[in-house]
Structures are given as C-alpha cells and as structure tokens.
C-alpha cells in the first residue's frame, strides 16, 4: 500500500499552477463585488445601508458550510482509502472554515444591532452558525490532542463525518426551536425576493470568498506537506 501514497510532487505542481489563477480571480471578483456592493447597488428600502453587510455576512456563512463539507469529504476519502493527502486537506480546511464562521457571526451581530436592536439575537441561522463554530473548534482541538499525527488524523476524520451527519439534525432542531419561541425573524434575506441589483455583488463576493478558500487551502496544504517532511527528517536525524 506504500506505493499508493499520493505523490506530493504531483499535488505541489497542480497547486503551483492553480494558486495564481484562483488568487487573481478572487481579487478581481472581490474588487468588483466590493465596489458594486458598497457603492453600485441601492440601499434597502427598509434597512437602509446596513443591508450592505449582507455582501460579507452571507458569503461567509455559505463558505463556512462549504468548508465543513470539504472537510467531511476529505475525511471520508482519508478514512476509506487511507489517503494521507486527504488528511492534510481536511486539516488545512478547518482553520479557514472556522474563520469564515467567526466572520459570519461577527457580521451577523453587527447587522442585527441596527435591525433588531440587540447585538445577539437567537435567530435560527445565527444559532446554527454558532454551533458550527463549536464543531470547528472541537475538530481543531481533537487534532492537537494527540502526539502521533496519524492517530490525530484518524480521530479527526471520524469526528468530521459524525459532525456532517449531525449538522442537518442540529439545523432542523434549532430552526424548530427558534420558530417555537420567536415569530419567524422579520428578515427574509438571501431568498429569491432579493433585489436583482443586490444579487450581482452578492454572487461576486461569494466567488471571491470561494477563490480565497481555494488559494489559502492549497497554500496551507503545501505548508502541511513541508511540516510533515520536516518532522520526518528531524526524526530521521534523531535516529540517523
């Protein structure tokens, strides 16, 4: 099975080719999204300019979920085919996903203040994103709980899969819990009712966030590969 170890050189070549493209596409779409979002699109008739926070809040929440899905997929590949590169991809995804989640929460609170009058509202979506943050923190903590990286990778992979199965159930329970205690939140954002002029900047920003995710993921995997080889060389030196 040793030969099946993914050849990191091939991955590094692909990464070196993709990163410039994804980075520049991200910058272009980000700049366009920011310009349209902040200046080019109308304010909301109800909320005024606070709606512009949506161009950061919504893509961050989307990417938080997309990152967790990537982590779960990579974990499944790592567990089923014992593919060490997949472990590294899962490990590299987590901090990015956690950052997206944190940004979604902060911008959500900042958006909530003028709209609902308080910094934190137990809105179903915000609560689910908060729980998602705990899942990320738990995943990262599990990675650091073992000395042997292979052991940590296996445990984290199982947790990611358990998490991805539980996510919809948690989302369902929180939505149900939220509707019971509070009338459906006033805001209906992100649905088809969104004003077309707002949709373009939103999608541009989503594309920018996606490119950012791909670029940073490839960079972090490169870092993990170097760290792994560094550890091995140091171990070899200790024994050499």
């Amino acid at each position: 099975m040793l030969h099946r170890f993914a050849n990191p050189a091939r991955f590094l070549r692909i990464a070196r080719w993709v990163v410039p493209w994804s980075a520049s596409l991200g910058l272009v779409s980000g700049a366009a999204g920011l310009y349209l979002g902040l200046a080019g699109s109308p304010a909301d008739y109800q909320q005024g300019d606070t709606v512009r926070i949506m161009y950061v809040h919504v893509p961050a929440a989307w990417m938080a979920l997309a990152a967790y899905a990537t982590m779960a997929l990579a974990s499944a590949v790592a567990l089923i085919w014992k593919h060490p590169l997949a472990d590294l991809i899962a490990k590299s995804t987590a901090p990015i996903g956690a950052t997206f989640t944190a940004i979604a929460l902060i911008t959500g609170a900042l958006w909530g203040q003028p709209t609902w009058g308080t910094w934190w509202v137990w809105d179903a979506r915000l609560t689910s994103v908060l729980i998602l943050l705990f899942l990320y923190v738990g995943y990262l903590a599990l990675w650091n709980a073992f000395d042997d990286p292979t052991r940590a990778a296996r445990a984290a992979a199982v947790l990611a899969l358990v998490g991805v199965v539980n996510l919809p159930i948690i989302k369902f329970s929180v939505d149900w819990w939220n509707t019971l205690h509070q009338p459906a939140s006033v805001l209906k954002i992100g649905g088809p009712t969104i004003h077309p002029a707002m949709l373009t900047p939103l999608l541009l920003m989503a594309l920018a966030f996606l490119c950012y995710f791909i670029t940073l993921l490839l960079l972090r995997v490169r870092g993990e590969l170097a760290a792994r080889k560094l550890r091995a060389l140091q171990a070899a030196r200790a024994e050499g």
């Binding site: 099975m1 170890f5 042997d148």
Partner: protein, 216 residues
C-alpha cells in the same frame, strides 16, 4: 501455517521496519529480537491485525488475514505488555469473562489457573495480585482458550524462575499440539529450535512519505 511477505510497518510517520518476511509452519516458533524501538511490539500487533500494514502481506493458511479478520482472530492469542486484569474482579471472574467471550466452557478456567499456580487465589480480587501474578493470570488465558497461533510480547517479564519455566512448558505443549508461536523477548527464553528474526536487519530508514527522490 503463517507467512509474512515484504512487511512494512509505519508508526507516527516513521518507517519502523520494511521488507520483513518469514514463514512459520505448525509446531514451529519464531523468536523476535531487536533493540528497543525496532518494532517488536509493532510486528506482533501487526500480525494480530491490530495495526494496519503500510505494505506487504500476512497469510494464514495461504489466505490473507484481512479477507476475514474475525475468523483469523478466533484462532489467535495476543499477549501484550499489559495484563488486562480488572482489579475489582476476582482472578477467576477475570479469566471466566475472557473464556466466556470466546465461548469456552467454564470448566476450563480452574485447570488453566492451576497450570500457572493461581488456583489458590481464584477468589481473590485482582487488585491484590503482584505484577508477576497478574502476568500469570494473562498467561492463564492462553491455557484456557484454545488457539493455534500465539503472539506473545515479552511473556516472561516480571516472572520468577519457576513461572518462566511454567510458561516455557506451556509454549512447548502448545507447539507439540501443532500450534505456532511468535515470541518477542530480549530476555533469555527457552524455545527449542526456534527460528530467529532480528528486527535490526529490517530497520526502516527515513520517512514514510516517498517524495520524488528515493527514500534515503
């Protein structure tokens, strides 16, 4: 008949041993020696199917053990460094549990304890046992539960002269009945005409992550 071909073991991203092979047929024993950290325990855990192989094959009666790991394991005893004795249970209850789990009649428990001089302590909670006595309780498991392959990791540690002889006798009896034994030990242990395997010869070097240039 147990055969290992081109076994490679990786632990914590380091190649512990590589290219290891041996063949063992009924009644034979293999004495595994090697410096600390050369992977003696890893080899035994690998043969028990507890540790995944990085490469190579382990064949039992010609078929790979992974085809039906559960079936393979019903015929295998693994004795690790730890004795798996629950302090709160008595000596007899400890052995009866493992015997019951393997579907062995309860009558075999006392004779197995007797073969290691523990029948007098049968109703004593295990927390009062000395290290040597706990080791003998673990060895009694081999006598109580029939298995054709014994994987023994430093079986005679903490045993006095008399009990070392008792375990050597047990291994000899096991081999006489056609059983196989893979024993790792740095302490002298009488294994008549056993094959030797020094793990130093198969020591793996360098990293478990072959990048472009060859693994050093």
């Amino acid at each position: 008949m147990l055969e290992a071909r081109d076994l490679t073991c990786v632990r914590a991203e380091r190649v512990v041993f590589a290219g290891l092979g041996f063949r063992l047929s009924a009644g034979e024993a293999l004495l595994v020696t090697g410096p600390n950290g050369s992977g003696k325990s890893s080899l035994l855990r690998l043969l028990a199917g507890l540790l995944p192989r990085a490469a190579g094959q382990v064949l039992w009666h010609g078929t790979a053990i992974d085809d039906d790991l559960a079936a393979y394991r019903t015929g295998v005893h693994y004795l690790g460094h730890l004795d798996a004795a629950k302090p709160a249970l008595t000596v007899a209850q400890n052995l009866a549990f493992w015997a019951g789990l393997h579907g062995v009649a309860a009558e075999r428990v006392m004779p197995a304890l007797a073969s290691f001089g523990l029948d007098g302590l049968a109703s004593l909670p295990a927390r009062f046992l000395s290290a040597g006595q706990r080791r003998r309780l673990a060895l009694a498991r081999l006598a109580a539960i029939p298995a054709s392959l014994w994987l023994l990791d430093e079986p005679t540690i903490a045993l006095d002269r008399e009990n070392v002889r008792a375990s050597e006798a047990a291994i000899a009896r096991h081999r006489a009945q056609g059983g196989l034994a893979v024993v790792s030990s740095n302490v002298a242990i009488a294994l008549p005409d056993a094959h030797g395997l020094d793990l130093a010869d198969f020591a793996g070097r360098g990293i478990a992550w072959p990048d472009d240039e060859a693994v050093p």
